[in-house]
Every structure is written in structure tokens, then in C-alpha cells.
Symmetry: C2
Subunit: 221 residues, 2 copies
């Protein structure tokens, strides 16, 4: 078995591949269900493995760490975002393109996720992540790797080189910081619909420019 298991491509394959996918998805479901219910720390790998009726060792052949299984779905969402970004018209300014790509990604998020787990479970997962220190750390690290990807994409749009011109990384840093902030606030609020997080995101992204520009005392939020 290979660790890659790039999400949506094991469709037209033999029995072996299908079985693998079943186990893979079942592990995700079991892990998320157990973790969101009783907490990440209070859930052991043995429990998850047992729920799917495989050995602990097998779990680790599908996911290299306990954290990995938690972010398996997130990974798909991120991939879609990157695609959306690359599809934005070249005329859009960097921050504008980022904004539009992320809003698009939220829009049809439901369909993609539902094929693996109930969207509602995914939303609960998101909140669990934000309230579990170890997962917050992992989430941040993953985000920072994603930032690198995005910065490269932005640089390509603008015909720049990420290594020599710091501006792509700077916008992306600001953008990501704000994205994370939006996610956190959404998690804290009781509301956990897709619409609600989309709205929060939009609102905060549109706040970047005025907030950075200064002049806070002259204009209301």
C-alpha cells in the first residue's frame, strides 16, 4: 500500500482497491466520530482501529500519525481551494483573487465532503481541532505549508519569483492569518453552518485593507 491515496481516484479499480478505500474511509469516519464525541486526547488509536475491526498496526499503515486522520478531509478542501485560485482571472489583484477563490471553495464544499463523511461531522471536527492544543499546532503547521504553495501560485500570477520578491509571501501571510482568525471565531460561536463560516470569512477578508492602512479612528468598522 502506498501512503499517497490521493482522495478521488480509486473509483474504477479492482476489489483490492475498493476494499482499501472502504477501510480508509471507515477509519476516518470512526476516528472523527469518536474524537468529536469523547475528545481527541481521550480517544486511543486502539479504539479507532477496533471500531473498524482492524489492528492498530493497520491504522498506522493508512495514516502515519493520529493527527493525520483528523486532517484527511481538510486536505481535500485545501486542494480545491488551490485549484480555484489558479483558475482566477489574471486581472484580479492578489488579495482579490485569494478572496474570491476561498469564497468559491466554500460554496460547493458540501458535495465533495459528503462522499466521505456527513458535512455536519466535518463541521464538528473543525471545532474540535480549534479546541485541542495539539491539533491547533498541527493545523497551523499544515497551513504554513499550504501558504508556501499559495505564495508560489500568486508569484506565478504576477510573474515574480518567490525567492527574490517577498511580496507574495507577505500577502499570503496576511491572508492566512485572517483566514485562521475567521475560522476560530466561527468555531467559538455556536453557529456551525457552512453559510455562517462563509459569511465570517468574507467579512474578515474585506477588513484586511482598511485595517492595515491605518486610520482606524476615522472610520467605523
Amino acid at each position: 500500500m502506498r501512503a499517497e491515496m490521493t482522495p478521488r481516484e480509486g473509483l474504477r479499480c479492482g476489489l483490492r482497491e475498493r476494499k482499501k478505500r472502504r477501510t480508509h474511509d471507515a477509519l476516518i469516519r470512526a476516528a472523527l466520530e469518536l474524537c468529536t464525541q469523547q475528545g481527541y486526547d481521550r480517544t486511543t488509536i486502539d479504539e479507532i482501529a477496533e471500531a473498524v475491526d482492524v489492528s492498530q498496526r493497520t491504522f498506522f499503515r493508512y495514516f502515519t500519525t493520529k493527527e493525520d486522520v483528523v486532517f484527511a478531509v481538510q486536505e481535500i478542501v485545501e486542494a480545491r481551494f488551490v485549484d480555484a485560485l489558479e483558475a482566477r482571472p489574471a486581472a484580479e489583484a492578489p488579495l482579490e483573487a485569494l478572496r474570491n477563490a476561498v469564497l468559491l471553495a466554500w460554496d460547493d464544499l458540501g458535495q465533495v465532503i459528503e462522499s466521505i463523511i456527513p458535512v455536519e461531522l466535518h463541521m464538528r471536527t473543525y471545532q474540535m481541532i480549534e479546541s485541542t492544543p495539539a491539533l491547533v499546532a498541527a493545523h497551523l503547521r499544515r497551513s504554513s505549508e499550504l501558504e508556501e504553495l499559495i505564495a508560489t501560485a500568486i508569484a506565478r500570477r504576477e510573474g515574480l519569483d518567490v525567492e527574490t520578491d517577498p511580496r507574495p509571501r507577505i500577502v499570503v501571510a496576511a491572508f492566512s492569518g485572517v483566514m485562521r482568525l475567521a475560522g476560530r471565531l466561527w468555531g467559538e460561536a455556536g453557529e456551525c453552518s457552512v453559510e455562517s463560516i462563509r459569511a465570517t470569512t468574507e467579512q474578515h477578508l474585506d477588513g484586511i485593507v482598511p485595517a492595515i492602512a491605518g486610520e482606524w479612528r476615522k472610520s467605523a468598522p
Copy 2:
């Protein structure tokens, strides 16, 4: 023993306090020395404890996790930054105050650190952190907690409430993202002097406003 151990205050105390400080600092030195030499993952707590001639259990009474000991010095630096920020004149705009505080903190960083470990070791530690996934994650999490503090301070300066007005968190998010970027670039470059990281930081901070404002194609970096 209490977990606090707020760095510079066990000075005028009895033998017990002094001994505690000695062990505490010795553990930091041993840990950083060993980790920077042979790598974080390839260094066990037993090795560190043995180097200081205490039991593994005692290590964990001083530092709750293996990561903690790595960030012990960073913690002091951060505290100084927060102090510097709170001392900035109210006339400065948020981003301006952040910029000046961080540059000031870099300035007299040497003195503070040298009382615990050689500055050179601290610099090597910084680079080790950036090249160790687990530590990058921990570093990011710590930073995000610091962001919360800073955002509150900014809000206070501007007479705002962090909970209702998102702007303090937005600037801080942008600011922190850029700070981290500067740190990473500095770590990748061979140069590891305090001056060099200070210069990198300054340059990137001054790039925030133009990068966010857009109009990249009209002005050179």
C-alpha cells in the same frame, strides 16, 4: 515546585531556590546543546536528564513537555517584546507601534539571553526549530497564543474591544505572519547574527503596507 518559574526573579532567595534555578538552567543548556548537535528527534529526555545528572522524572517536573524546554528562552524574548509594545507612545498607529517594539526588542536581546545560554546557542536553536516539523508546529501554536495577547494590547491602545472589533486581530495576524516569514528566511540563509535577523525583520515589516495595498506592477519592491 511550581511550574511558573517566571525567569528572572529567583535572585534574592534561599539555597533551595538557587539550586532549583541551577537545575532549571542546566537542563535548558543541556537540552539545547544536545538537540542542536544531534537533532531534536534523535535526542531523548533520558540523555538530557543524564547530562544534568537528574532523573527523567525530574526533567518533567521542570518542563511539562520535551518541546517546552526548547522554547524556554524564546519565552523571555516574547515577554520583553510585549513590554516594549506597551511602552510605545499612543500616537503611533498600530502597525507602527508593533514594528518599533519588535525592533527595540531585538536590540537589547543579547544581554537578556546571555545570562542563561550563549547567544550563539540561541541562534542555532532558532534554526533548529525551523527545520524540525514538530517544533515548527509548537512554535506556531505558541505564536498564536502570543497573538492573542498582542491583539488585546493593541485594542487597549486604540480604546477598542477585541471581541467586538476584529481589526486588532487582523493587523496582528498580518504582523505575525510577516514576522514568522522573516524568521524563516533568516534561518534558511547562512547568516545567523542578531544584526542580520533584525535587518530582515525591518525590511519585511516595511513591506506590509505596499504589498497589501496592491498596485504591485506599478512600483518596484
